[in-house]
Structures are given as structure tokens and as C-alpha cells.
């Protein structure tokens, strides 16, 4: 709880300092920043509503413990694939998914699967035409395939390092 409060304080302090500097030294930049801020907020509102509804529905219809058991059973290649696919189809800013992932983490879902989910949020089928436009079809296909493959390796490396940390801390005790 203390860490949570510290983080909030840190954010507001950083935001306040930036705001102070901008208002003091650059009125034009302040206007642009504020316009952009509200533009993002308005763009995000529908996503917020959608995510909120999904949260309610998930909580209402799905027992997290059962879901965790289901994911727990999929700790093989299928688990990686499901986590990766979930990351790809997930929408909205990354930080909006943290609470749900936090819930899953608390219920024992492996960090490798959470990492794979987070990494694959970088792959967005809807944005691929834009990537093709700038970098070409071959590049886009190769990058997408490489990123999906590397996401699994990335997840396994994160898991391994965190496991080593746990073993090390147990030895220290």
C-alpha cells in the first residue's frame, strides 16, 4: 500500500514539475500538450468503458480460480500460444491490462505467460497495413513472425531470472 502511494506521489510530482516548467517557459507548448492530453482522454473513454464492462463481465461470469486452473493446465506450448494470442487481440493502452494481470499473477499464473502476453501486445493486426506502407510486406511479415517467436523466449528468460532471484533470496535466508 505504501509503495502504491509512493508511485502515485511520484507521478503527480513529475507531472506537476513538467506542468510548472511548461506554464512558466512555454505557453504555446502548454496549449498543445493540453489539447493532446484531452484528445487522448476523449479517445480513451470508449476503451475505458469497454474495459470496465469486460472487467465486470469477467468477474460476473468467470471464476478467476477456475480460469487460473485452466491457464495453469496450459503451461506447455499451448499456454504460450494462448497468452501470445491474447496479447495480440487485446486492445487499449498497456497499463489498462495491469490490474487483470495482477489478479492472474496473484492466482498463480506464471510470469512467463504474463510476459508473453505483454510482449505480444506489440503485434497489432489492425496496424499492420501502416507498417507495410512504411517498411514493405516482407519486412512486416518477418518482423511479426520474429516478434511472436521471440516473445516466447522473452517470457522464458524473464521466468528463469525471477526464479533464480527467488532461489537466491531463499539461500540468503
Amino acid at each position: 500500500m505504501k509503495e502504491e502511494t509512493d508511485n502515485k506521489t511520484l507521478y503527480f510530482m513529475m507531472g506537476s514539475i513538467f506542468l510548472f516548467l511548461l506554464v512558466t517557459f512555454s505557453t504555446n507548448s502548454w496549449d498543445v500538450s493540453l489539447n493532446r492530453f484531452f484528445s487522448i482522454i476523449f479517445d480513451i473513454i470508449p476503451i475505458f468503458i469497454l474495459v470496465f464492462i469486460l472487467f465486470v463481465l469477467t468477474d460476473y461470469f468467470i471464476d478467476p480460480k477456475k480460469l487460473v486452473k485452466l491457464i495453469e493446465k496450459k503451461h506447455n506450448a499451448w499456454g504460450w500460444f494462448i497468452a501470445g494470442f491474447a496479447g495480440i487481440i487485446s486492445t487499449g493502452p498497456i497499463y489498462m491490462w495491469y490490474p487483470l494481470l495482477n489478479e492472474m499473477q496473484k492466482n498463480g499464473v506464471k510470469n512467463s505467460l504474463i510476459s508473453i502476453f505483454l510482449y505480444n501486445r506489440a503485434i497489432k493486426p489492425a496496424l499492420l497495413p501502416m507498417l507495410i506502407f512504411y517498411f514493405g510486406l516482407t519486412y512486416t511479415i518477418v518482423l511479426t513472425v520474429v516478434m511472436f517467436s521471440m516473445s516466447i523466449l522473452n517470457g522464458l528468460v524473464v521466468e528463469k531470472i525471477l526464479d533464480l532471484e527467488v532461489i537466491k533470496s531463499r539461500k540468503d535466508l
Binding site: M14, R36, F37, Y134, F135, V146
Partner: protein
């Protein structure tokens, strides 16, 4: 199956808890993004072919935003003669490493997890860039 009212209350409580972090995060992102133009990036690349991907990944990690913005900046960097490896590491780090999201990630998923995940994602952004450009080079 839970009670619907309970589910709504639980979700609202969770959103209320994290909302100040989101607002602060978006505010910070907009303030910084407005002050960094795409021409700025062309000044810092081109030091050394081996260092460029690291610089690309570093900038991509610090700056956050919609992937489309990274494509646009990446496309412009490419037009300015920046190497494809540097641009790729920039694009990959932009979406996989989150320095600005770090406080939120560390608050909800744990500090150790957030540090390890972001450091590993940073290293992988360079590996992904090297592998991707290597394969594209072979395929043609």
C-alpha cells in the same frame, strides 16, 4: 457466478484506485511527446553502426505512445539514412519496453517483475532487430 452488483462495485473500486496513475501517466506522455520532434532523432543516430541499435532501443524505451507514431518516426528516420536495424530496435522497444509505464507496472505486477521484464525486453528489441534485418537481407 458472483452477484452483478458486487462485480460492478469491485470493478469500480479497482478503476478508482488506478485512475490517478493513468491520468498522471497520460499527462506526462503528452507533455514530453509534444517536445520531441522527429527531426531530433536524426541528430543522435549515425554515431556507429553497432551503437545505433542500442541508441534506437534506448530512445524507443523512453518515449512511449501509439505504435503508429513509432512507424511514422521510424519511416522518417529511414528516409534520413538511419540504418534499418536501428529503426527496428526503436520500433520494437517503443512497444515492448515501458519506462513511463514502469511505476504502474511495478505497482500492480511487482517491482522485480517490472525491472526484469523491461530489461529483458530492451535486450530482445536489439536481438529482434538484428534477426529481422538479417532475414530480410537474406530473403531480399
Amino acid at each position: 457466478m458472483n452477484n452483478l452488483n458486487q462485480s460492478i462495485k469491485k470493478s469500480a473500486k479497482m478503476f478508482g484506485r488506478i485512475m490517478p496513475v493513468f491520468i498522471g501517466l497520460i499527462l506526462l506522455l503528452t507533455l514530453i511527446m509534444v517536445h520531441i520532434s522527429s527531426s531530433f532523432y536524426s541528430l543522435i543516430f549515425g554515431i556507429h553502426p553497432l551503437i545505433d541499435p542500442i541508441i534506437g532501443a534506448s530512445i524507443g524505451s523512453i518515449i512511449a505512445g501509439n505504435p503508429i507514431e513509432s512507424y511514422i518516426i521510424g519511416g522518417e528516420l529511414l528516409n534520413h539514412g538511419i540504418s534499418l536495424i536501428a529503426v527496428t530496435s526503436f520500433i520494437v522497444a517503443w512497444v515492448t519496453v515501458g519506462v513511463f509505464q514502469f511505476p504502474a507496472e511495478s505497482m500492480l505486477l511487482g517491482t522485480k517483475f517490472a525491472i526484469v521484464r523491461n530489461v529483458v525486453a530492451f535486450i530482445f528489441s536489439i536481438i529482434v532487430a538484428v534477426v529481422t534485418v538479417g532475414i530480410v537481407g537474406v530473403i531480399g
